[in-house]
C-alpha cells in the first residue's frame, strides 16, 4: 500500500473513477495543463485528454451551471471551484438549481454532480482563500456536504461523491493537503456518505470535529490529563451527518465539545449541539461547548492563527466541559 498525501489520494480517486467510467469528466479553472492551483488534478489531462479534463473560462457560475447541464445530459461531471470564496458567483446555480432539480421535477431530472472545493484557513493565503462556509451548503436542502480529514477518507469519500446520484459538495481542507501521509489502498473502496469516524474511543467526554481541525483536536488530546478519556469523532460528512454515532457517544460520555473553524453563530456546531440537546438531554452532565471561529470576517493572515481554533483553545474547552 502506498503512503499518500491528501492531494495524492484525491488524485488517485479521480484517476480511478475516470478510468472506470467514461461519463466522468473534470471541469474548472486551471485544472488541465497546470493540474489545478494545488496540483490536485496533476497529470490527468495528459492521461485522459482535453475532452475529459477541461480548462474552462474564468466563470464560476458558468462552471456550475454547465456542470448541471452535463449531469442532466447523463454524465458525471466533477467541477472544481478554485477556492471556497469563489463559490460566490456559483451560489445561485448550486443552491437554486443543482440542489433543487430532483425535487422540482419530482425525480425526473437529477443532478449527479461533484463539486470539489479547497476550504479553510491556515495557509497564509489572501482574502477569500481561507473561509469555512460549509454550513451554508449544509443548510441548503438537496446538497450533500463532505469534508475528509485524512488521505484514506479523502479517496473513499470522493469515490462515493462521484457515484452519488445527487449533488455533493466535496470540501478539501487545504491546510492538510500535504501535511502528512497515510496508507491508502490502491484498490477501489468507498467511505459511505453520512458516516462519521470514531478517531479515538473514550468514556468521559465526546469531542466532535471535522476537516483540518481534527488535527488540532488530536494535538489537544495529547496534552490533556492522562485520566481524562476523550472520544474523538471526525464527522467526515457535514450533511447528512451521522447523528447515531454522535448520540451513542454522548449518551455514553454525558459531555460534549464541538470544534470547527467556521464562525460560531449558526455554525454546524450549533446544529449538532441542538440535536444532542434533543436526543441526549437527560444524559448531559455539562453544557455543550463550542470552540469555533468568531462571528467576524476571516482575518488576513497576520491574524488568522488567532482566529482558527488551535489545540490550546480546544484543550481549554475540553477542560471546562470536563470540569463542570
Amino acid at each position: 500500500m502506498a503512503e499518500l498525501t491528501l492531494v495524492q489520494a484525491i488524485n488517485l480517486a479521480l484517476t480511478q473513477e475516470m478510468e472506470s467510467d467514461e461519463r466522468v469528466l473534470i471541469l474548472g479553472e486551471d485544472v488541465g495543463k497546470n493540474g489545478g492551483v494545488f496540483r490536485v488534478t496533476e497529470g490527468l489531462q495528459q492521461r485522459f485528454g482535453e475532452d475529459r479534463v477541461v480548462d474552462t473560462p474564468l466563470a464560476e457560475s458558468g462552471i456550475m451551471g454547465s456542470a448541471i447541464g452535463l449531469a442532466m445530459g447523463g454524465l458525471r461531471p466533477i467541477a472544481e471551484i478554485q477556492f471556497e470564496g469563489f463559490l460566490g458567483p456559483a451560489y445561485d446555480q448550486l443552491t437554486n438549481h443543482a440542489a433543487r432539480y430532483r425535487t422540482r421535477s419530482r425525480g425526473a431530472v437529477t443532478i449527479p454532480l461533484t463539486v470539489r472545493v479547497p476550504v479553510g484557513g491556515g495557509i497564509h493565503a489572501p482574502e477569500l482563500h481561507s473561509d469555512s462556509p460549509e454550513v451554508i451548503y449544509a443548510h441548503t436542502p438537496g446538497l450533500k456536504v463532505v469534508m475528509p480529514s485524512n488521505p484514506y477518507d479523502a479517496k473513499g469519500l470522493l469515490i462515493s461523491a462521484i457515484r452519488d446520484p445527487d449533488p455533493v459538495v466535496y470540501f478539501e481542507p487545504k491546510r492538510i493537503y500535504r501535511a502528512f501521509r497515510q496508507e491508502v489502498p490502491e484498490d477501489e473502496y468507498t467511505v459511505e456518505i453520512g458516516k462519521a469516524r470514531i478517531v479515538e474511543e473514550g468514556s468521559d467526554l465526546t469531542l466532535i470535529t471535522w476537516g483540518a481541525t481534527t488535527l488540532q483536536c488530536i494535538e489537544a488530546m495529547d496534552n490533556l490529563p492522562e485520566d481524562l478519556s476523550v472520544e474523538l469523532i471526525d464527522l467526515r460528512t457535514i450533511y447528512p451527518y451521522d447523528l447515531d454515532t454522535i448520540v451513542e457517544s454522548v449518551n455514553k460520555t454525558g459531555r460534549c465539545v464541538i470544534a470547527c473553524e467556521a464562525p460560531k453563530t449558526g455554525s454546524m456546531a450549533a446544529e449538532i449541539a441542538t440535536a444532542i440537546q434533543e436526543h441526549c438531554f437527560l444524559r448531559l452532565q455539562a453544557p455543550i461547548q463550542r470552540v469555533t471561529g468568531f462571528d467576524t470576517v476571516m482575518p488576513y493572515y497576520k491574524l488568522e492563527m488567532q482566529y482558527l481554533p488551535d489545540a490550546k483553545r480546544i484543550g481549554e474547552g475540553v477542560m471546562a466541559c470536563a470540569g463542570y
Binding site: F86, P89, P126, L224, P299, R313
Partner: protein, 385 residues
C-alpha cells in the same frame, strides 16, 4: 426584402510608441509632453524595482503571495496619469495588476505591500484618496465601478453637486471578462449612461489559461461594443497610446455621460503570482518575444533618441528607486503588529454584544465566554474530575 446588415462595428487599435521605439507623430501629437514621458519612465522604473523587491520578500518568507506587475507598467502608467491629470479625484476600482495607476493617484506605496503581507491596514485607504482596496474575487468589482459612476451622475443631477471631471475607472484582466458580473457592469454602464471606464488589461493569460481558451472572440473589446459602448484597443505597453485612449474616455464620460471600454493589449512577463510557476504551461519562446516588447525598454529608447535620457540619469534613477523602495519596505515591515481586537472591531459600526463577548474573551468555548454561568465557579478546575 433583400438581406440587410443589422449592425456593424469597427474597433480601432491604437499604437503610438511601438516596440522598436518608433513614434507615430500624428497620433502622438498632443499626448504626453517630454517631461511627462520622463516622469512616467521614472515611475515605471521605480515600480519595476518595487515589484522585484516584493518578489524577494515573498521568497524570503517576509510576505505572502504577491502578483507581479512586471511588463504591464505602461498600461497603469498611461491610464493612471490621464486620470491624475484630467480627472483628479476620480474613483479607481482596481484588481491587482495596476499598482502604478494607484500610486500615481495618491495611494501610499506601502499599502500594497501591507495588503500582501496579510494585513488589512493595507486596504485602509487614506481620506481623500478615491481608491478601493484590491479586489480578490475576480471580475466582481466592475459592478461597483458602475454603481460609483451612477452615484457621481446622481449627485450631479439630483443633488446639484459639481462633478468636475470625475469618472470611475475599473481595472480587470482578460480572464475576468468571462465573469457574468463584468457583463452586467458593462450593460448597466451603457444602459444607464454612466461616466465609467472599463480598463481590461489583456495580458493573454489567466493563470494557466490562454486567451484562446478563455474566449471564442478575437478581441475582448468587441464584447463591450455589443453592449452599445464605445470600445477601443490600445497597445498596453505604450504609455502614449494608453494615455491618449484614457484621456479620450474621460472626455466621453465627462461631456457625453457615456462609458468606454479600453482593451490594453499587454503581457504578464512574470508568473501569475509567487504561488505559480508559469514554466509549467507557457512556451518560453512566447515569453521571450514579449520581453522584447517590454514597456520600459521602448520608453527608455524613445527618451534617449530625443536626448531626454542618459546613462547617468539611469544610474541616478536606479539608486533613487532602491532607496525609495527600501524605505517603503521599512515602513511596511515596521508597522506594529495588529492586535487581535482588529479581527472584531471593523465588523459593524456598532458591535453586537455577542461579538464583543467573543472579542473580550477570545475563548469560543461557551463557558469561557460566560464564566458567571451558574455552578461553573464551584466546579471549574476540579481537574479532569
Amino acid at each position: 426584402m433583400p438581406k440587410r446588415i443589422a449592425y456593424k462595428i469597427e474597433i480601432e487599435s491604437i499604437s503610438i510608441l511601438d516596440e522598436h521605439a518608433n513614434f507615430d507623430e500624428s497620433l502622438g501629437a498632443g499626448t504626453l509632453r517630454d517631461d511627462e514621458a520622463v516622469f512616467l519612465y521614472e515611475q515605471m522604473t521605480i515600480v519595476r524595482h518595487y515589484d522585484e523587491i516584493a518578489f524577494k520578500l515573498q521568497r524570503s518568507g517576509r510576505m505572502g503571495t504577491y502578483p507581479q506587475n512586471k511588463g504591464q507598467e505602461a498600461a497603469a502608467a498611461g491610464a493612471g496619469f490621464a486620470i491624475k491629470k484630467h480627472a483628479p479625484g476620480s474613483w479607481l476600482v482596481p484588481c491587482y495588476r495596476e499598482n502604478l495607476a494607484l500610486f500615481l493617484n495618491g495611494l501610499p506605496m506601502e499599502k500594497i505591500l501591507l495588503h500582501w503581507m496579510g494585513d488589512e491596514r493595507g486596504n485602509q485607504i487614506p481620506d481623500g484618496v478615491n481608491i478601493l482596496p484590491i479586489s480578490i474575487p475576480i471580475g466582481t468589482h466592475p459592478l461597483h465601478a458602475s454603481g460609483l459612476a451612477w452615484s457621481l451622475k446622481y449627485r450631479e443631477r439630483v443633488m446639484k453637486e459639481a462633478r468636475d471631471n470625475s469618472v470611475v475607472i475599473s481595472f480587470f484582466g482578460d480572464g475576468a471578462s468571462s465573469e457574468g458580473d463584468v457583463h452586467e457592469a458593462m450593460n448597466f454602464a451603457s444602459a444607464l449612461k454612466l461616466p465609467a471606464i472599463f480598463l481590461c488589461q489583456n495580458n493573454r493569460w489567466a493563470i494557466s489559461v490562454p486567451i484562446s481558451k478563455q474566449m471564442g472572440s478575437e478581441t475582448v473589446v468587441q464584447k463591450a461594443c455589443a453592449y452599445g459602448m464605445h470600445g477601443v484597443q490600445a497597445d498596453g505597453n505604450d504609455i502614449f497610446a494608453m494615455y491618449k485612449v484614457t484621456r479620450d474616455a474621460i472626455e466621453r464620460a465627462s461631456n457625453d455621460m457615456k462609458p468606454t471600454f479600453i482593451e490594453a493589449v499587454t503581457y504578464r512577463l512574470g508568473d501569475h503570482t509567487t504561488a505559480d510557476d508559469a514554466r509549467r504551461y507557457r512556451d518560453p519562446k512566447e515569453v521571450e518575444a514579449w520581453f522584447n516588447k517590454d514597456p520600459l525598454i521602448r520608453t527608455r529608447k524613445y527618451l534617449e533618441k530625443k536626448n531626454l535620457w542618459s546613462a547617468d540619469k539611469q544610474t541616478a534613477l536606479e539608486a533613487k528607486a532602491k532607496e525609495m523602495v527600501s524605505q517603503i519596505v521599512k515602513n511596511a515591515e515596521g508597522i506594529a503588529k495588529p492586535t487581535s481586537d482588529d479581527i472584531f472591531d471593523y465588523t459593524f459600526a456598532t458591535l453586537p454584544d455577542e461579538i464583543i463577548r467573543q472579542r473580550d474573551t477570545m475563548h469560543t468555548h461557551s463557558l469561557g465566554q460566560n464564566p458567571s454561568q451558574e455552578t461553573l465557579n464551584a466546579h471549574t478546575h476540579a481537574g479532569a474530575r
